[in-house]
């Protein structure tokens, strides 16, 4: 059972002492390790250090002022609001999709699985554009929305929809392989013993998938908070109203308010670091500890 449930999450183990035939000569080991570390230092560590270095370049007082001025706070609030709507919606979808796909046989299943991954193949800019085509002034429902004084594009609902689109597959693609590997035996036993559907889900399925679900939520949350291209198309960039944190960073940067831009960006970088820590914690979890 443990090996079956473990298959969906990426899992790393330390290499055991390798047999001699698979061991590289010392000079190759040193060279390759050095090349890899220098490459990663240039492309990963340096940008990260730059964010925090620039953010604090005018001192702590300036930093705190930058992240607590009204426009920054309103951007933080909007980002949190978006996440509070998008993540639960995508969790509900991910669980429903995984339940249908993993626990039942039906025709068109592989097409459905492919369609769920579709948003990953779409450019963020296009993800925003398609909502403009549906809800924008020139779009399908534009005239009706204007007549009824409903704003979706250049308003919060558009930001929520575009974010939901780009983060759509995260939870589902984590849960589908996990629940497929777990099969239906435990749920069938529960039903046979008289549990109803919700009891089966809450007491049998959910405890089994909780780590996979958590993993999907972390990734979905990080992308939802940081989405830039799609949100930038539908937001309209109204300061204090439709600016999310990444858009606020862009505006400050383009106004040459570089230090303030990096101060807000550092909050998003902290989010990224927290995401990596939680993600590795799930991946490094001892095998039996689900």
């Amino acid at each position: 059972m443990a090996s079956a449930t473990a298959s969906a999450l990426p899992r790393r183990t330390e290499p055991e002492s390798l047999p001699r035939a698979t061991r590289d000569p010392a000079w190759a080991r040193w060279t390759l390790t050095a090349v890899a570390l220098v490459f990663l230092a240039f492309f990963l560590v340096l940008p990260l250090v730059a964010v925090f270095g620039q953010a604090f370049s005018k001192g702590l007082g300036y930093y705190l002022a930058s992240v607590s001025e009204p426009d920054a706070l309103s951007a933080i609030r909007l980002t949190l609001l978006t996440v509070a709507i998008v993540v639960p919606a995508n969790v509900a979808f991910g669980i429903a999709a995984a339940w249908a796909i993993a626990k039942f046989q039906f025709r068109g299943k592989s097409i459905l699985t492919t369609l769920i991954d579709l948003p990953f193949a779409v450019s963020p800019v296009t993800s925003g554009l398609i909502y403009v085509l549906v809800f924008g002034a020139q779009g399908w429902f534009g005239p009706w929305l204007i007549a009824h004084n409903v704003r979706i594009i250049f308003a919060v609902p558009g930001i929520v929809l575009a974010t939901a689109f780009v983060t759509f597959p995260f939870v589902a693609r984590e849960l589908i392989p996990l629940m497929q590997a777990q099969g239906t035996d435990e749920e069938c036993s529960a039903v046979t013993l008289g549990a109803n559907g919700w009891q089966t889900f809450w007491r049998v399925t959910l405890p089994n998938i909780r780590w996979g679900l958590f993993y999907g939520v972390i990734l979905c949350n990080a992308r939802a908070m940081g989405e830039f291209g799609a949100v930038s198309v539908v937001s309209g960039h109204i300061r204090g109203e439709t600016n999310t944190m990444p858009l606020h960073v862009e505006i400050l940067y383009n106004e040459y308010n570089i230090t303030a831009a990096f101060a807000v960006a550092s909050l998003l970088a902290l989010l990224a670091l927290a995401t990596l820590v939680l993600k590795s914690a799930v991946e490094w979890r001892p095998m039996g500890g689900r």
Binding site: R12, P15, P19, R20, A21, T22, L32, T33, L37, L40, F42, F43, L44, P47, L48, A50, V51, Q54, F93, A96, W99, A100, K103, F104, Q105, F106, L112, L115, L118, A121, S123, P124, V125, T126, I130, V132, L133, G136, Q138, G139, F165, E187, V191, G197, T200, L219, A222, G226, G229, S232, P246, E250, A261, A265, L268, A269, A272, K279, S280, W284
Partner: protein, 277 residues
């Protein structure tokens, strides 16, 4: 999609879960996506071609495809080395390095964009050392390439790493017993085995780079005909209220990514060809 329910299943909730899945998928993904194709289908052939093949758009395709290909190749080479080092060797701090590889997935693209720009501009930490050598990165083709390399970095590492981990040491032992030296074992035995995952990682990184916007717009400088990527061109057209022009270009890019998605699926089937079921 007809749903022929498996009569043997005693589990409840099939109708509810599939119904909700299809409704949500339709509302969030399929209906909006079809809007792009329907809008493009409503254009005359002449207008469509004029919108997707003007010199400025062609220059943007060349930049986006060229820089994405170059970044994909660099990531294929260095991604293989990073995956190799992470799987085969041990060194202090390896877990942290391993976790850090996913940074481009977790770091918001706008943050990556301004960080790379500040590093590589002529007075930045890296740029100031390159400037005397006559090498300008920010606001040039190279800048676009650097941003796309950053954004594609985890893909090759994360596709190659699990394959490398699952390789049986016996294969290399056999090669060694049969008289192959280490270089021969790596190039003739290991690399062919890793090729499908390398190509999958490359294709994933390439597909991501094609559509990437946030990390590129800051460092590219956005000069028409020179450093303007395709996604930026879509936004520019939208800001000029040229909805048809924007949609036409978006549809070309959508078709390109769907073809890539298909190729990636085929590659993944190919890479699983020897695996027991």
């Amino acid at each position: 999609m007809t749903a022929a329910r498996n009569s043997r299943s005693i589990l409840p909730g099939f109708g509810l879960s599939l119904g909700f899945t299809l409704a949500y998928l339709g509302l969030i993904v399929l209906v909006p996506l079809s809007a792009a194709f329907l809008r493009a289908a409503g254009m005359s052939v002449h207008d469509f071609v004029a919108a997707v093949a003007s010199p400025r758009v062609m220059a943007a395709y060349r930049l986006s495809f060229g820089a994405s290909l170059a970044a994909g190749f660099v990531n294929m080479v260095f991604g293989l080395i990073v995956a190799w080092v992470l799987v085969r060797y041990s060194f202090p701090g390896k877990r942290i390095v391993d976790a850090l590889v996913d940074l481009p997935f977790a770091l918001p693209t706008a943050v990556a964009g301004i960080a790379l720009t500040s590093l590589y501009s002529t007075n930045g930490w890296v740029g100031r050392w390159l400037a005397p050598l006559g090498l300008r990165v920010a606001f040039t083709w190279t800048g676009v390439f650097v941003a796309l390399t950053f954004i594609g970095l985890p893909f090759v590492v994360r596709t190659v790493q699990p394959v490398l981990q699952d390789l049986e040491p016996e294969v290399e032992e056999a090669a060694s017993t049969l008289g192959a030296n280490r270089l021969q074992a790596v190039t003739r035995i290991l690399l062919p085995e890793l090729m499908p995952s390398l190509l999958t990682g490359f294709a994933l990184a390439f597909a991501r780079a094609l559509g990437e916007y946030g990390s590129v717009v800051f460092i590219s400088g956005n000069m028409p005909m020179k450093t303007e990527i395709v996604p930026l061109l879509i936004i520019t057209k939208l800001e000029q209220y040229d909805y048809n022009g924007a949609t036409a270009i978006a549809v070309v890019m959508l078709v390109a990514s769907f073809i890539l998605l298909l190729l990636i699926n085929l590659l993944q089937k190919w890479s699983r060809r020897y695996q027991p079921i």
